[in-house]
């Protein structure tokens, strides 16, 4: 079980604690054994402890500490946003956010939809059962 995701310049990480919880950031430099310099298009570049970061599979091609413009251009070129949102991890997070923001009416509609779907599935299952026994 070797490591697959390394801390390197250009590694995209997810912030898992603190003010920027849930944001995707780029590791732009390593300060010391515990801290990294971290940057994102919508935040001021700053330091973060590695314990606050969870590494992702995505890596972009940048030099050490690029300026904001270069960073944004590199993120666009690597299409980080779409890669993240189509990855299973990214999709899960999106679904979690959607569920948390559901209205009482939305929850009701979802309940109706679930019951309908279960009904359809059960019908099909009954059909298949009949076919195999017949």
């Amino acid at each position: 079980m070797p490591f697959k995701r390394y801390v390197e310049i250009g590694r995209i990480a997810l912030v898992n604690y603190g003010k920027d919880y849930g944001k995707l950031v780029v590791i732009v430099d390593v300060i010391d054994q515990n801290r990294a310099l971290v940057d994102a298009p919508d935040m001021v570049r700053g330091q973060m402890n590695f314990k606050r970061l969870t590494l992702t599979d995505i890596k972009i091609d940048i030099k050490r500490v690029p300026n904001k413009k270069t960073l944004i251009a590199a993120l666009e070129a690597a299409d980080v946003k779409n890669k993240w949102e189509s990855s299973s991890w990214g999709r899960k997070l999106i679904v979690q956010k959607k569920r948390a923001s559901l209205n009482d009416f939305d929850r009701f509609k979802i309940m109706l939809a679930k019951i309908k779907k279960a009904g359809v599935v059960r019908q099909e299952l009954a059909k298949l059962k009949k076919e195999t026994t017949a």
Partner: protein, 233 residues
Amino acid sequence: MAPQQRKPHVCRNPDLIRGVGKYSRSKMYHKRGLWAIKAKNGGAFPKHEKKAVAAAPAEKPPKFYPADDVKKPLVNKRKARPTKLRASITPGTVLIVLAGRFKGKRVVFLKQLTSGLLLVTGPFKINGIPLRRVNQSYVIATSTKVDISGVNVEKFDDKYFGKKVEKKKKKGEGEFFEAEKEEKNTLPQEKKDDQKSVDAALIQCIEAVPDLKSYLGARFSLKAGMKPHELVF
């Protein structure tokens, strides 16, 4: 020049901090030009003559002094106002009733009455809740809104919902055991008509939104895994 064309006057003595002006008394005296006014008036500040105060009619000393001092109650200038309505509750909001015989039912908010209570209706055909008053504290406001512009709720106020005063009958000995009271528990036809007229326009707007009718007919309940402090209503 018309008064509206004047430039708004800047304060002559701006605050350095609250309570401390930039200029001292002597500087302000000079700035206000009191020296010029005095000079114009020949060395002294112009005085107005005091208006002659009409001599107050001589009050006779009172004939009676109470033995103990009577305390006067303190001044109370508070006005009675209806309870402050939560910002999330606007006319047409769907509310969840939390207590009483309709607990868990979802209901449409119409308006706030002068007593502070909320006027609310099922609508009756959908979930059996008539025009009713409900306290704001026993209600969760959802973010679902119904269009209420076609409904006229002007005529409803607290008196409409008050208990009817029965005229006292004189006690007759023979009638003591007969209990001649009419069973006045039937709703007057007028209230039924009011309910119908309010609900007619509402039900049309509700049926325009898919699933809203069954939503209003269903009761709310907490299921496993639902954390009320994390739920968005």
